[in-house]
Subunit: 502 residues, 2 copies
């Protein structure tokens, strides 16, 4: 191998010749590194900095051989995903999630269409409200409700004139309010012509009315107490007649508020808490009004369409597994139902709490548009329940929770009481229209208490938030399946018995 | 209606009595408002502030009647979701996306299990590599590759001693490199005992070797040019023998690098760009090494399992629609395939570019761990291709793109050339092992150019990022389906013909 020896000779000679120039070489090496991206980090920062300064010493070197810096194109650094790296930017992941969600749901939608064809049928919706188009029991119920409004107003007027003592007034109010709760129940259970949906609608109206009139009586009582207190403490009475307020509104004070117009404004206003002088917006913004109206119409169609096309087939196909208690298949159906059910709930939320309520508020120039807060960031179950439905939350706080505290009840007791009441009304609104009492909704609501404790105790930040979402996405369809299943068993057993269309 | 008159009288009298006290009442109203949350905004900020100061004037009022502030519990404010509101915190939505993704995929997984049962079978994997356990054609191919490494080293040694002129050296290198590309192709096409997977593996090894040796020859040439330049410019030669460098490593300089050990270190190092002195990490971190090893084993199992359980059934069931060109069903299958395919790709990415490469690097104390950058945040297709596979990107830049620019080619031409080369190798790695030339992969890569133009031109920020994700998630399964379909048509036509298991 003569060549081999030549090669060794060459290298050896170079060694001798240039032993001194090591340093000179050393400083030039990291040219490549100095042009690397700032994201990734090196284990030897100080040294690396030092080298960079060196490279600036001989720029003409670099220019002369444009590929010299190529000679070293690596440098000490960690992979971005390894814990030692300081890189933490995963913004793209959110977009990934969105794309994946859209795709997988597009797939579901297509699969659904291929399997069932188009099931959307707007006409069918009407039949949900009416059995016989010539009898409108639910509508009649709603109209009748005016009677109770008048009773409440009449009682208040008697109270302020002193014709009624506080006791009598209270009794009348209690009777009036309990009738409001019981009368529709009796009617719905008596009249078979009331459809579940129609019944639910009527009951919802009566429940809202109950809460509103309860608030009405409370606030008026507070005003009287205040008047008397002021009178006693010889300070000049704070009650005052109609005078122009800052916003150019007539400013009403007790008992100047005890008129039909005022009460009916409250009845139609999107709030459950009565107030003598609601904040009013300057004017009706036409564009805003029309946008909300458009949303209302569009989302109604969407809700109906998704229910018919997506919910119903899944529910029907999940009857059989439920009958047979085929567990794994039940779970599969439950998860399958969870997605459309959740989407429907989200759409409903926006439709009701944003579009509809803002529409009414704009129409009535009702100023306070806080119908919900940022429940989607809820990190505890409690936060969710305090922020997703502000009208009800406000009412509970003002007419139920705080009075209980004032009466000396403990925070926990009062909170549980609120949940209990809420559970009652959930059950009330579901069981009566379906004419079957299963307590699923009630238990669902009561289950929130241990859940709230668990999440608050063990989960923080994003985990808590995820847990809240999970309880929403999974919890609802369970209750839905329970009720639908029982409803089928009672009413369409033959349908449920025959093989479901899968 | 005597009562009615009484009532009017009462209100009238109060009016007269307290006409002056309107202002006093006015300032007390917004007590409720002042305690509202800062998030939501009011239309009348300045006034509101003013009122807050007022309320501070009479605190004992508040204490005296703890429910006085209840008298006004509303204030002017917009809904959070309406554009007029300043609220923009939707952090919870990310968690929502994650929960939804997990749930829907849990559902898919369960459905899949119910439909197909357990299909995972680790033994079957072996059969993908070997037809006959006594002949290992792919392994033999890999072993043979050492010959080309030796040829490259031999040529370089001859070049430094001047026994070969630059021209001869170049010719030998070109022949050597082209043989590296052609030899395995011929073998794979000749030997029927080479399975597609085995062939793909062997070809991958040879492709990597090709890129490495190409880089090796370039860098050594650059070193020689530099030596001569230095010699000419009478500056003292920068080449130097082995001397201790900062990191305590022996610092090698040309031609001190032309030894087997050095070359084989480069061959096994997780990089395609040769360098005389790679940055080395201080020591082998055992914990790190074992974690990466654990990841490698786990993810391999996961990849195999998901493929057998999730990919294969979908692909089989999508053969029939493809045969019949049933379009809507093809789309449905494509979307259905996109999800597992994408997950597999993500797992593969982590397995190869993070676990495996870091494992090898740690083992060899190879310092530069930048095998990928944050392609998941890519807002343009170009950015993705520049950052998802750094070793290849670095090689293209150093040995293909920059040299082209130096030769005076325009940026666009050079970029297209790079894409073209990349497209060639994609096709090379797919078509040869499958023994069918369909150009799907080639076209898939070339399609990136117009796509890159479109995204860069029309989409910004998150939309660009989403588009990149979409092209990844949708693009791959299309190519996969194409190849698998053609492969089935050729090899298992009878299988594809009979009704697929749906």
């Amino acid at each position: 191998m003569g060549d081999e020896n030549d090669f060794r000779a060459v290298t050896r000679s170079r060694r001798r010749a240039t032993i001194t120039s090591a340093k000179g070489e050393l400083v030039k090496r990291p040219n490549g590194a100095s042009s690397a991206d700032p994201n990734s980090l090196t284990w030897t920062k100080p040294k690396h900095k030092g080298q960079e300064t060196h490279t600036r010493v001989l720029p003409e070197e670099k220019k002369k051989y444009s590929h010299n810096d190529n000679l070293s194109c690596h440098r000490l650094q960690e992979s971005m995903l390894s814990s030692a790296s300081s890189f933490r930017n995963y913004r793209g992941i959110l977009n990934w999630c969105v794309v994946m969600l859209i795709l997988s749901n597009a797939r579901l939608f297509l699969e659904n269409l291929l399997r069932y064809g188009v099931l959307v049928d707007p006409i069918q919706v009407v039949s949900l409200f009416l059995k016989n188009p010539y009898s409108w029991p639910a509508a009649c119920l709603v109209i009748v409700s005016n009677v109770f409004i008048l009773v409440a107003l009449y009682t208040e007027r008697r109270l302020v004139t002193g014709t009624f003592s506080e006791q009598i007034g209270l009794i009348i109010h209690i009777i009036n309010l309990s009738v409001i709760l019981c009368f529709p129940v009796v009617t719905v259970l008596m009249l078979p012509s009331v459809t579940p949906v129609g019944g639910a609608f009527a009951l919802a109206v009566y429940t809202i009315l109950f809460l509103k009139l309860y608030s009405y009586k409370d606030v008026n009582r507070w005003c009287r107490e205040r008047m008397q207190a002021k009178a006693r403490s010889l300070s000049r009475s704070l009650s005052c007649p109609s005078t122009p307020s800052i916003s150019g509104e007539v400013y009403v004070s007790y008992p100047g508020n005890l008129f039909l117009k005022d009460l009916y404004y409250f009845v139609f206003a999107p709030t459950l808490c009565y107030e003598l002088n609601f904040p009013r917006s300057k004017s009706v913004r036409m564009g805003f009004l029309l946008r909300r109206l458009f949303e209302m119409l569009l989302l109604t169609q969407l809700l109906v369409g998704l229910t018919q096309q997506w919910m119903v087939p899944i529910i029907q196909s999940s009857m059989k597994p439920l009958q047979e208690m085929d567990f794994s298949r039940m779970i599969e159906r439950l998860l399958r139902l969870a997605v459309p059910n959740h989407f429907l709930w989200l759409i409903f939320f926006y439709w009701f709490f944003h579009s509809s309520m803002n529409f009414v508020a704009e129409l009535l120039r009702f100023g306070d548009r806080e119908f919900y807060r940022d429940w989607w960031n809820a990190e505890t179950v409690t936060y969710f329940w305090q922020n997703w439905n502000i009208p009800v939350h406000k009412w509970c706080l003002r007419h139920f929770y705080k009075p209980l505290l004032r009466k000396g009840a403990s925070k926990l007791v009062s909170q549980s009481a609120v949940f209990f009441a809420s559970a009652f009304f959930h059950e009330y609104l579901v069981s009566v229209p379906l004419r079957m009492f299963r307590l699923w909704a009630f238990m669902g609501m009561m289950a929130q208490l241990p859940l709230a404790w668990f999440v608050g105790r063990f989960l923080r930040g994003n985990y808590g938030n995820a847990a809240v979402w999970l309880s929403l996405i999974i919890g609802q369809p369970i209750a839905v399946l329970m009720y639908v299943h029982d409803y089928y068993v009672i009413h369409h057993l033959e349908e449920a018995a025959e093989p479901a269309p899968l």
